[in-house]
Symmetry: C2
Subunit: 557 residues, 2 copies
Amino acid sequence: MNTPKIVIVGGVAGGASCAARSRRLSEEAEIIMIERGPFVSFANCGLPYHVGEVIKEEEDLLVASPELFRDRFNIDVRIQCEVTKIDRENKTVTIRKMTTGETYDETYDYLVLSPGAAPLRPPLPGIDHPAVFTVRNIPDIRAIKEMTGNGEAKSAVVVGGGFIGLEMAENLHHIGMQVSVIEMAEHVMPVLDKEMATMVNEHLDSMRVDLYLGSAVQSFENGPDGKPLVNLASGEQIAADIVIMAIGVRPETGLAKAAGLDLGPRGGIAVDGFMHTNDPNIFAVGDAVEVEGYVMGGKRLIPLAGPANRQGRLVADVILNPDKPKPFRGVQGTAVCGVLGMTVACTGETEKSLGLMAKDGKVIEYEKVYSHPFSNATYYPGAQQISFKLIFAKEDGRVLGAQAVGLAGVEKRIDVVAMAIQMGATVYDLEEAELCYAPQYGSAKDPVNMAGMIAANVLKGVSKIVHWPDLENFDGILIDVRDPEEYATGFAEGAINMPLDSLRKNLDSLPKDKEIWAYCYVSQRAYFAERILTQHGYNAKTVSGGILSYWAADADA
Amino acid sequence: MNTPKIVIVGGVAGGASCAARSRRLSEEAEIIMIERGPFVSFANCGLPYHVGEVIKEEEDLLVASPELFRDRFNIDVRIQCEVTKIDRENKTVTIRKMTTGETYDETYDYLVLSPGAAPLRPPLPGIDHPAVFTVRNIPDIRAIKEMTGNGEAKSAVVVGGGFIGLEMAENLHHIGMQVSVIEMAEHVMPVLDKEMATMVNEHLDSMRVDLYLGSAVQSFENGPDGKPLVNLASGEQIAADIVIMAIGVRPETGLAKAAGLDLGPRGGIAVDGFMHTNDPNIFAVGDAVEVEGYVMGGKRLIPLAGPANRQGRLVADVILNPDKPKPFRGVQGTAVCGVLGMTVACTGETEKSLGLMAKDGKVIEYEKVYSHPFSNATYYPGAQQISFKLIFAKEDGRVLGAQAVGLAGVEKRIDVVAMAIQMGATVYDLEEAELCYAPQYGSAKDPVNMAGMIAANVLKGVSKIVHWPDLENFDGILIDVRDPEEYATGFAEGAINMPLDSLRKNLDSLPKDKEIWAYCYVSQRAYFAERILTQHGYNAKTVSGGILSYWAADADA
């Protein structure tokens, strides 16, 4: 059947991609795209930046208009229409015109659900205060800009320190507002591992964003001036002109559930590798569905535009392409966030996600290495230090995940590792990667190579590493192999200064019956020290990441 | 033997990496590093930027001093010493102290040759003029800066438009000099394919660098003011305060050759995968050796720091690591060059290199696609257009190479493709890559995804493409599917304007018995048009890359 009638519910990202690809594959198909809001295919990832006046015009957020879908793709776009019911037996949907309340039925051969995910808005007392907002679409942003656009609002509370929370914090900060961020976890960016996210905490702190970590909102109040007061569980109260709720999203599954479609263990719509729901004529894509984790399996909810677009395209291919496409390969969780000049990015598994997998019985033995390479050759101006964490399988060195934080060159390295993970690369492959090098762009040993080399040394037994938390139960000798003037700027508790370049002369002062752990600034010199010690018969190890990782961890203690 | 005596000839990149890694693997090995120049381990990739005052201090170029090698690595560094002879039978080298002329012999268990490559300086009349320079080391730069540093030199001729030539041109331009570039090929960056390099020509032109393409230097003269005059084969004469010769490098093989070591077909020292020469006790690494091309095989001379470092490390592992390492995996030719604000990068094979391989009997059927994606979401300020060329195998879609040119985000995409090529990825893998996306960093469909999607459409037959040079023998209909106001800004010869959004209404005006080729600005809309036409029974194709690629090619005509 190359002339099916396809009804798509939701006109952003996955839905819009499905519609356009469907038309490219079939001129005869009847394609109807139904969107609740007033806009289709808008740039939801750009919304925070419109609040920050970085994206000046609202119309810049409109990637494609209903007219374009009509004229170019011959798609019947119905905006401000809501699908209220699916009748699977008769293959019809009930559509309500939101402007008039009028309802009517529409038949389908294939139904594609792309309803997205809605910001969480828990039933806290006072949450209906008119200055408490969520961020999902253009009307939301209009409402926020009505308060922030005239310069009268001076302070904001952002509840939630994840991607959207921090993007909103950045943009409210950018237009000169005093911003507080309230986060239930001990650190912002809950998707990252703690010791990496702690650097983001510190950066926000240095930019004078007020952080309330490990804090929960208990209620909102209407202050005497009509502005909201935010009450924390701790008893603290924060006054603000506006509040942004960004504590996460929940897949929009109401319609699917009411129609008896299966949901998955994480509460999203359950689909197979071809985005089929349990009804062969109904597909689902985007933020509302559960997909397979690519690296370690398991069901995931990943509300990101890239996978949504690919899923939308895939559904069009499944319906209309005579060549059966390959199934959706799952999601790696590659993500990036700009945070007041800092870039935070990750791909693949974290220790946190591996911990969750282990609880589900999926255990993998892994190791991790920390490094602090520069974005480009340090002898070329502008090089910025990156904090990099690489997680890999102990058995075969397969790369499982990476996280990076810094001011420049961060997402480039995560992109390379993302590609590596997709292709099943090991740390030895990273070690050997041949990447672009000129001094303004990178280093002859790129940060990706460096992480691979360190990990390869660990796997080959050339270097034995420990991590700062291991120090708690350590009764050996901790040596700081930096120069005395560096040591004087601060050192790890209990560390003895023993500079690398005089280590060979001072070997006799060290015991052979105790473990010796070495660290330096980033632990490159510590690794050299470890090699010297090991070869002279000492039981030496390197503390991965050096004092930089210590300070990051310590700041959080 | 964990206590061998290792003599390393050459103290930069490969040699220095080998020395440091050797010491980390063995405290007992005797390691002697012999360097002809006054410095070891200097940043040769940074030399042009010191001329440009971007890297202000000469000492910033000194990555590691002889003292550091001595104190930290316990390596016997001998600078300003030249190895003049290898006695393979007795395993000794003859060393000449360049300051005194004194010579002496040194024994070795293993000899590692890392002599590098020397800039070509052909015996043209007048080339010994004191203002004609080459760029290889710090003394070279000192000599150049003596002329450029005081602001008196106003004009420069750079002979050779490759990496070093253009980096020198950028830096001489940066300090305010009028720069001419003379290149024998029809375009600068001879490593790129012509239609990609042409964009670099245009950029240089727009920056008021005088280009002499398809031009050869015939001789130099001493002008009346003592400054050099450059005579071209065309009869033109260019006056300049200084001349930089950057027409390429030649591997330093004299020592190896005299010792009876085998050279390869390209004139470099022949080595196996473990960097062994034909003498089991002699290794060679870096710019002087021939290595295997990773993608298509064949011997290559690739003078780049990254592979040199990896080769140096590998030799240390071969000599000292009880676990036999994996052989060197060959070189992809990943490279990047900054050209007055523009970034030019490539990885893998080009059409040019595939053409050379084909002449050697290594034929692969390939296709290529052109795209012009933006560095980040166009709705976020600062997005810059990238010209991207992807080459892939027709049989299975394996990625063979990529080239990109643009003002931002260029090397990131080439790095991702480099990793993809290393892992044997296909265009379908690029299509599915899950890369970092937020609007300031990329697009939900990243340029890498876009190139993969276009290529996948071609391989699956969803789109049929042609290239601008094919137009020469075309007798069908060429349609420009842009809007009339775009068409009015210029169009391809013979093209009829037929805007995409009214194409369905105008189908009757097109013949079904002739091929119809469609293009637009970048050929995304053309692809949509092709799909409409094909499904209505027309024989339609898309011209890859659109009018942007036409203009790039045409500029060169």
